[in-house]
Symmetry: C2
Subunit: 239 residues, 2 copies
DNA sequence: GTCTATACGTAGATAGAC
DNA sequence: GTCTATCTACGTATAGAC
């Protein structure tokens, strides 16, 4: 990873975060559910009702991504969280609502992470490059969250209206692109096309980067992807 | 759409196709299942066993994309196809197999369509541009098939090995890209990055184009998308 | 707020006639 | 090859004690 960007792991553990909810390393989340009893002991001192809620959300996230929505009984979700079915339905009215909550929590966390990485003092081009890098890093370090997002997004039966609820959190990114076009940093491409190209390409780079060992190889993939993006959208030559 | 490319509807109805299977307009497929009895009469003269199989596949496609996999009972699929549960399980060993067959049929048809649109006599750059256009046209005119592909691809519980079975059908596209790089038509970007950028961007353009009325507006979206792609990957300036 | 126990519906798949 | 009828099992969500 280039200078100015800290390791994703450091980011997840060291930086202040706006919400906890699903914010845990994959390893930690896995341990939680594999040994629900141990988890309960660990959480004993902070054993509020919110903890139960979060444990359920994490358990649902992991099971949905590995088994899918339909193949995951609510009983298994609650068991994975170390609580009972009754507790689950006390915190969430039904399975669909629980699923939506998982989605919203992930989206909010991702948006917050991108915002944290943004330095408004920098020129727009650097901000956009930084945003794309940060997005890629988040994706690589949050494979389960990303898998769930894809799963949920393409699933027709899971409440459509929920998808729109997070639009506002990413509004500033659209504005940032518009600013770049106004400044002549980005070619005058219709905004939907511009935004789609950036996000879809970045998303593809995440899959590529995740499939490659961390270090030089991964950096090369990211850099190559960024170069193609800027060749594509940049007003001038490569940068 | 630019010269040299026929209207998607003409493509679907007028050109010779290698397989029928799921190849029908959305409207026709919808009518089939909305009135299963009428369908049966229509098909009476050609009422082979293959027809039943195809009707089941089409019914499954439509229901999966509108309701999702888990929310679609096999009984509803067979009813939509105008046949019985028994008939469904005579043709497909189980629901998962049926789902895989839908996926494979769609992929094969898409691959065949792309191949048909390719003119090997043309220079590589034109062939690639043509392939991307054809891909976008196919996507716009096959929304259900595309929705299913996305649904299936991101679903963890549906047999993973199936995804790989269609790789060979698209192999030539990878070779085409490699050829373009060798000829200096495309910048020397690592192949996975190159291919990902093209496919992901094109896929995004499909969503954009589909959301816009056919005609000039849609053409502008496609042209803008192609311009960005070629700026991104092209060795020289825009084309 | 969390538990146990269970009601109620429904889904996938089979059996056996035609 | 297609049908009807059905078996078995499971999943969601609730009831009511603690």
């Amino acid at each position: 990873m280039p200078p100015g960007y800290c390791d994703p792991r450091r980011t997840a553990e060291g930086l202040p975060r706006p919400r906890r909810l699903l914010d845990k390393t994959d390893e930690a989340a896995r341990e939680d559910a594999d040994d629900a009893a141990a988890e309960r002991v660990t959480m004993a001192d902070t054993g509020t009702s919110d903890d139960t809620r979060e444990k359920i959300l994490r358990s649902a996230l992991r099971l949905f991504t590995t088994q899918g929505f339909h193949a995951t009984p609510t009983a298994q979700i609650s068991r994975g969280a170390g609580v009972s079915t009754g507790a689950l339905f006390h915190h969430f009215t039904d399975k669909a609502t629980l699923t939506s909550e998982v989605y919203l929590a992930i989206k909010r966390e991702m948006a917050a992470d991108l915002r944290e990485g943004d330095d408004m003092a920098l020129p727009v081009r650097k901000r956009i490059t930084g945003g794309i890098r940060r997005y890629i890093e988040w994706g690589v370090s949050h494979p389960e969250e990303r898998a769930f997002l894809n799963l949920f997004y393409h699933s027709p039966n899971i409440c459509d209206a929920v998808k729109d609820r997070t639009y506002a959190d990413f509004r500033w990114l659209h504005d940032l692109c518009a600013e770049a076009v106004a400044e002549g940093v980005i070619r005058d491409v219709p905004h939907p096309v511009l935004f789609t190209v950036i996000v879809r390409t970045a998303d593809g780079i995440v899959d590529l980067a995740a499939a490659v060992p961390p270090g030089t190889a991964r950096e090369e993939v990211v850099d190559a992807g960024l170069a193609v993006i800027w060749h594509g959208i940049g007003a001038e030559g490569p940068g």
